[in-house]
Symmetry: C3
Subunit: 284 residues, 3 copies
């Protein structure tokens, strides 16, 4: 029994958790949006999670506040119920990162010795922070960070790259000048809800748009990733290009969440139980 506690809406993440659990042979309950839950009565995350831990075997939580998943995990610990972070504010989105990694390996055949471009809102994009953090564990990645100055990655993320084995980065404002060097291009949505003003959002959202013309300068085997939903950062005429990998990410997202839920429930997937696990070389 999975409980999905989504304090923010997310079709993709919630439905992939729910269908994943059902495909594993389990069931799912939950809420989507605080209007449906006791949050509107002032209940704390810890109380809600401790309550739901009495009903469910595993909890997936999405929350607008950074750190909410950690609070939830501590509250559910006593009941022995694992909590999966399905995105906490601008902080992390680890299951999206698992989908990203699966897709990169599918396309590139490896998770190391890559030049990875990340483009758009690198300040508030939790998927960007999660992906950089995780690729740093594998090592030997050159990150090309493409963003306007106002939306650069936070300093703690740069510090993480500096500490990682064989990793380096460059920060640029222009996608066109670097796209030809990339193995992977990770586009991100300029998220309206993270902005302080409508004006600032409108000014910046069209800066980093990928279309067929810009894509022409990329390598024929570059993989274009995007955590979705997109607004207009990738023109729909790119969808049919074989380099477009973002709908593969969606499919992989369900599969990695199935694997993760099976793992935290100590329920080995059929045929995979005896295999040795592959672990990152650069793990610290």
């Amino acid at each position: 029994m999975l409980a999905t506690l989504f304090y923010e809406p997310s079709t993709r993440t919630r439905l992939s958790f729910e269908t994943g659990m059902i495909r594993l042979g389990g069931n799912a309950v939950g809420f989507a949006g605080t209007g449906q839950s006791s949050v509107s009565k002032g209940e704390s995350i810890a109380d809600t999670v401790r309550t739901v831990a009495a009903y469910a075997d595993v909890i997936a939580i999405r929350h607008p506040k950074e750190g909410a998943a950690l609070v939830a995990a501590r509250a559910a610990e006593r009941a022995g119920v694992p909590v999966i972070n399905a995105g906490d504010g601008g902080h992390m989105h680890p299951t999206q990162t698992l989908a990203d990694l699966a897709t990169i390996r599918q396309r590139c055949g490896r998770l190391t010795d890559l030049t990875v471009g990340l483009c758009g809102d690198l300040m508030f994009g939790r998927t960007v922070h999660s992906l950089i953090e995780t690729l740093c564990r594998w090592g030997n990645i050159h990150f090309v960070l493409v963003s306007p100055p106002e939306l650069r990655v936070p300093q703690y993320v740069l510090d993480r790259i500096d500490k990682a084995s064989g990793c380096s980065y460059e920060q640029v404002r222009d996608l066109a000048g670097v796209i030809g060097s990339l193995d992977v291009l990770y586009m991100t949505r300029v998220q309206k809800e993270r902005f302080f003003s409508e004006d600032e959002y409108v000014r910046l959202r069209d800066t980093y748009v990928l279309d067929r013309a810009r894509l022409a300068a990329a390598r024929p085997d570059m993989a274009v990733l995007h955590p979705l939903p997109r607004v207009n950062e990738i023109a729909t005429d790119v969808d049919a290009d074989p380099r477009a990998a973002y709908f593969d990410q969606v499919a992989n997202g369900m599969l990695v969440r199935m694997a993760l839920m099976a793992a935290v429930l100590d329920d080995p997937l059929p045929g995979y139980g005896d295999e040795k696990r592959q672990t990152p070389a650069g793990e610290q």
Copy 2:
């Protein structure tokens, strides 16, 4: 695995799809209202559907905009996932029509050679448009269209009747004068959300109300249908009358949706797989 993508609320339609799929042995996930989905982040229908097609085997979509189901069907086509239109704006509501047809055949024993009255908001009522379109395929129907001048059926619907084999229509303003001639009376809700102003809604909503007094002039075997929800178009004192067929429509609605989902999934219902299908005679 069914996904219900309901961009507009609909208890009846959504729950009948979901319980129908569960009764077929499957499962259902989805959302009800855009507040629960990534729509609020500006995602297009096509992207949402293409995403959900990675999780589900069949999709049922309800959307306030005409043509949304067609867009959805095209987006899901590549993934080989069938999309069922669960109502698109003022355009069509084909599974309601299947429920209507099942109920008419149950009551009248046939779907042709009938005098069918449709009463209320005939301009915005998508169930009316769907039902007329479909009965025209069977042929030999006389339609009695009862509405205020402001809420008449659109011209393209009248054109459809003109082209259909053995079909005819009359447009009247008064239910009392025609009720005695009807085999079927299809009442519709004057939908507040389709009106331009509150004043216009209030002025028109009470015009075409069916109560016991008015029903007295009808034939003893006339069937009263309504797609529900009703507000006050049918007085509750009509519910106990044997001519009231609208709660039968509800039950039939789940059954026809089960049959439809089984059909689009190529999953023949037990005991029905070898039967020859009955097709409309007037099919064009």
Copy 3:
């Protein structure tokens, strides 16, 4: 097949019904909040329930209006579908009471010969009214009613106690003076949504707060109950105290709802079918 019709949000109650039904081997569908349902189109409770009764085998309803569950039960009667009241306004919340009783018996070993304190909002608290009503059936309870004068229990509840076998009550304003005499302390939330003004809510909500200091005066085996969600009526430092029983209530809530659904569906729980039922001695 359970349908949960929640016209008001309630994470705890809805999820415990749904997970309970799934653990019994069934399934659950429903809505949480009127924004998701046809209520927004003006449909009556009776029509909604009669519709849902065509899909589901049992219905659980939560509604902000007193008496809604009774209306629902009458509407579903014709279809032979049992309706469970999951809370109707300030009136009753009987399945919460079943959870309360299970927890009291678990802690005290009996449901009679007890001194039971109820503290906080006793006027609007439906769980309080349900619990008093039910304990009166068992008899020999002394109720200590702790509330500000503005939030005392309604007179009909006091009349109920007066009629019950061996039952008595006292009304006090101060928890500290009576806490030492209690076998059970039932804390309640001062529910913001039941108040007439924000000012009145703020003035009263902090009046009856239980913390470690106040708990020190209680017996070592007193049980602290709370229907949850809490806002600040019980300080979180009380959670680790062995007298805190409110998270046990949550777990018991799912179990009693499973038992109730099995009972109304005539589906005897495995191993319990042949046992003689225990009935309240003071039943009237």
